[in-house]
């Protein structure tokens, strides 16, 4: 797939997510179920476009292209849309998705101006461990982003008490589920990463800054998997933890790559 076609299709996906955001906003204002239904269809078409681009790029490259900032932002955004759709289809969360969609617009919006060209895979990344490590990492991040959005919404709903958003117990349940699923994937990401580090460097835990922060992310969410069993941390506490956790995720994903140097270069 040519870079130009990639940009066109991704711009169309961006437009779809933007359209869905507007439809959900309309749904909030006019409370028409049809608008929410239309938003769901629009998000699905955005995801379908993104999936097409992802598969075409994967086929063309011969490897999952997630080796620079463009492609990780794109993959993150794809995973987030898929993750949202999972929750929407399962629980009909409707406008709850607004926050996720905002986030997705930011991710895809940041990817679009970047160069989508696919470069040959360097030998050090030429291993299925890399692909598995990255897939699990970004799908895990997507669930953490979902939990972040649900956390924000939980706090909002506490103030607003509106029937437009799900009730607090459901939001809490969804938040806990997102954290658990994110933790499951991130654990797999850490396992694949450790095996890869062992065959690449001869040791499976590195004190390299990005690896250390991945461990922090993992430990943080491991802690969260337990905090839900403690009454004081349920609901509001969990919402705040989800927000803080996503801050840690963002720093690990973007902060380190942009502010510091590490052996996990992005661009």
């Amino acid at each position: 797939m040519s870079p130009a076609l990639t940009t066109v299709l991704l711009s169309a996906a961006f437009a779809a997510y933007l359209g869905a955001t507007l439809l959900y906003l309309g749904h909030l204002k006019w409370r028409r179920p049809g608008l929410a239904q239309a938003a769901l269809v629009t998000v699905s078409s955005g995801l379908a476009l993104q999936t097409t681009v992802l598969l075409a790029r994967w086929l063309a490259a011969g490897y999952l292209p997630v080796t620079n900032l463009f492609s990780t932002l794109f993959f993150f955004s794809w995973a987030l849309a898929a993750c949202y759709l999972y929750f929407e289809l399962r629980y009909r969360i409707r406008a709850t998705g607004l926050f996720v969609l905002f986030l997705n617009l930011l991710l895809l919006g940041a990817a679009l101006p970047r160069d989508p060209a696919i470069k040959p895979l360097i030998a050090s990344l030429d291993t299925p461990l890399f692909t598995l490590h990255i897939i699990c990492s970004f799908v895990g991040y997507a669930f953490f982003a979902m939990a972040f959005s649900l956390g924000v919404l939980y706090l909002l709903q506490q103030r607003l008490g509106t029937d437009l958003f799900p009730e607090l117990p459901l939001l809490r349940k969804l938040n806990e589920e997102a954290i658990f699923l994110g933790f499951v994937l991130f654990t797999l990401c850490m396992i694949f990463g450790a095996i890869w580090a062992f065959v690449a460097w001869g040791y499976w835990f590195s004190w390299n800054i990005k690896s250390v922060w991945s461990f922090i992310v993992w430990l943080f969410y491991a802690g969260m998997c337990h905090a839900k069993f403690i009454k004081r941390w349920q609901g509001t506490g969990y919402a705040w933890l989800s927000i803080a956790g996503f801050g840690v995720v963002l720093f690990t994903y973007l902060g380190i790559g942009l502010l510091l140097s590490s052996n996990h270069p992005l661009d």
Binding site: A123, V184, W196, G202, S206, N208, W233, Q234
Partner: protein, 348 residues
Amino acid sequence: MPTRLWNLLCNLKLAIWLASVATVLTMAGSIVMIKYPKTFGSIDQMILADWFARFGQARPGLSWWLWLVAGAVLLLGLNTLCCFFDWLLRIRARWRKSGEYLIHLGFILCLGAFVWGSLAGSRSEGNAIRVGESLPLAGLLPGHALRLDTFEPVFVGGQFSDMRSTLTLLRDGRELRTEVIRLNHPLTEGDLIVLPATFAQEAEGFRCDSPQGSIELRPGSVLRLPDGRVLRVLRFFADVRRGGDGRIYPVGDEVNNPAFELELLHPQDGPWRGWYLLREGLPAPLTAAGIQLQPREPLLRAISVLTINRDPGAELAKIGGILMGLGVALALLSFYAKRRRGDRPELD
């Protein structure tokens, strides 16, 4: 008292506290690590015990947080272990949590493996080995050696991409097995792991034109002349300097002022031995003997630079990782089943 201690060690809130403390301390520590690369830059190049002995103890003001992280994580490990045993004791009633507790067991094993490797492992970088040479592994795997049979750098589109070293592992001089190692494909034997790190090239002699045609001269080469004389190459240096005392001193590995030490033997005359500095031309006794040599290009030999590590904990970590992976898969499968059953213990 023992019951209270046991209850404390099985306490979930303690686990959350310890995980939080370890998280916050590691966050702070990571900033210290970046700010002080002189102290922390080599932390991955050696096992943690060696790093503490060489750098950590010398800079207690910078490394104290690492002790605290280690303390918090080890306590968390103990906490997890007790929690795991507590579950084992009640497994009949709580078998549905098998996935969760496999995660816990996996974590304990990985932690144990890390401690083991950090105390009893070893890391060694920059092991240069030339094609045809053997490298004894005395301190790492007694009685064993590695021989480099071939080396080939791989270039794709003119850019360096990979390097393939054919290594033979020897025990007491006997060949155990031969493997090609490249990026992401190390050689492992027991707790030993051998990886390609980088490569270098070294001049080992020179190609020269002579009346007999193009010849390769390197230490050990013999040139038989028509009149029965024999020219032998004793040594070669890529870069030499002539000292004030007139003697020749090697100064480096870059081809700059290359020199051969040669010996000319003749059945009747006594032998001549001396230096041929390629930039200066053949020494008089050789030209007098009718020898003609025109240096053309250096003969290069590849050096594979290997990382050789030992991690006695690696196997245990692998088992821990597999258990953790199985655990999350099982926990994932049972998560929804438990939700349907309304199984959400609120422990507080």
